[in-house]
């Protein structure tokens, strides 16, 4: 069944959408889109490491992204630079270092376009295993930290005062972010992963009235984007990542009409 590259890509994409849906909601709620971008940029370094030391790409990206996240947290504590400057610093320097390292690895042929924008041809059955088991693990952990994470998103002090340990939830969530980037990099590409997190969630915000509904619609939006995007990628011979994100954008635009309607109803 998984012999066909297109079926593999579809199964991989569906697995990714299940995970990016709920995580993307938290990215939007907690204003972490640039944080996600930074981790994704640093993923290039993870990919080069995987090739150099012959490691699994997902595991290598996960490790590097986690390290970058830790460095970021330390820098936030120890310097007075504003958060966005630190994110920019880490994002672009890790991307640059990644590209420089690629320059040195002349013995390997890199498909840079595939790394940046995703490549459905690159998805093999091992990747499917990584995406679905990794994805299931991410969702289980997210379910476990859901209450403290949501409570501290609403108000950190409330969560802390009522004994929910928001700092631990935040640290775990950071690791989950690194993990979701690791499992989706081959498919979506490192420049577009944040789009996969944010756009379906933003679309879901326009049509939801509770956190749970937003998560549900965000998953549905992600699934539709993957299916529509991959079919059009096949049809028009375009890169998989951009096609999926473009499909998500169309869904987002459609969701704006729902907002317009509800504003009209109110007036």
């Amino acid at each position: 069944m998984f012999d066909d590259f297109f079926i593999r890509a579809l199964v991989a994409g569906i697995g990714i959408a299940f995970v990016t849906g709920p995580l993307g909601c938290f990215v939007v709620w907690r204003r972490l889109s640039y944080f996600g971008d930074t981790l994704a940029h640093s993923a290039l370094l993870g990919v080069t490491m995987a090739y150099t030391f012959d490691l699994n790409i997902a595991i290598s990206v996960f490790l590097i992204s986690s390290v970058i996240a830790l460095i970021l947290i330390q820098l936030q504590k120890k310097t007075n630079l504003p958060g966005d400057a630190l994110l920019g610093l880490l994002a672009h320097s890790s991307l640059a270092v990644g590209l420089v390292v690629i320059g040195f690895l002349t013995f390997i042929r890199f498909d840079i376009m595939g790394l940046l924008f995703g490549d459905i041809l690159a998805v093999n059955t091992d990747d499917l295993f990584v995406i679905w088991t990794g994805g299931a693990l991410i969702l289980i952990v997210l379910k476990l930290i859901w209450k403290p994470l949501l409570a501290s998103t609403v108000n950190y002090e409330l969560a802390e005062a009522e004994g929910l340990n928001p700092d631990r939830a935040k640290a775990i969530f950071t690791i989950l972010m690194a993990a979701v980037i690791a499992i989706s990099i081959k498919m979506v590409g490192l420049l577009l992963i944040t789009g996969m997190l944010i756009i379906p969630a933003a679309m879901a915000r326009n049509i939801s009235d509770s956190p749970q509904k937003m998560v549900l619609f965000s998953i549905i939006g992600g699934l539709l984007s993957v299916i529509l995007g991959l079919y059009s990628s096949l049809e028009f011979n375009t890169s998989s990542g951009p096609s999926i994100i473009a499909a998500a954008l169309i869904l987002f635009i459609l969701s704006l009409f729902k907002i317009k309607q509800s504003i009209k109803l109110k007036n």
């Binding site: 939007v28 709620w29 204003r31 209450k147 949501l150 409570a151 998103t153 609403v154 108000n155 002090e157 409330l158 969560a159 802390e160 005062a161 009522e162 004994g163 929910l164 915000r205 939801s208 009235d209 509770s210 956190p211 749970q212 509904k213 937003m214």
Partner: protein, 248 residues
Amino acid sequence: MNSNSNILVKLNNAGFRQSEKWLVEGVSLTVEKGKIVTLIGPNGSGKSTTAKIALGIYKNIEGSVEKYTTKVGYVPQKISIDWTLPIRVYDFMLLTETIEDSAIDEALSLTGVIHLKNKNLGSLSGGEFQRVLIARAISKKPELLVLDEPVQGVDYTGEIALYELIKKISDTLNCGILLISHDLHMVMSATDHVICLNGHVCCSGSPSYVAKNNEYKALFGEKASQILTTYEHKHDHVHSDEGEIKKN
């Protein structure tokens, strides 16, 4: 049972410093079951900071905090709900603890906002939001209730009703309350212990003691010390030995 088992939270000479500036220092206080302790003081006197020390929100403090309960309800002074998070009053009630629907309805009815149950939190007025905050804190049936200016933005009649509710909750749930309030009338009428702060503890004791204290007069003015007497003249109910309120 010794008397210590009634203690819910105890601050020993506690203080908190933020970038070399003391927000508050040298505060000792005890909140016991069924008692209301009130913090008063001017803006920036460290009332909210003291509450946050008691709650364990601030970690690197001077002195020590002993906390003997984990069942805490907190009404923070400020909360802003980001538009990106769609959340109804109902979802907010379940934010930190899973409670039964009947308990949610009861708490929302007590604070008079049951009709807002399915409304979006962002669409509430300031006073409505405060009522929801109080409802959320009491619906958990906490042992320790920390209320940081709980009735800000609530209309005058609502304010009185809510303060009566708070007093009633302390009696029925037998929970300890740490209250921050600007309303000296309320402070003087329903409180067991008043702590007057101004970066440190200016004076503390029973309401009548504090009202006569010179430091209190210096902070709040001569008029404020007359509030107690004014209040006593207005008394329209008495407290029986069992703690019940009887109307005159």
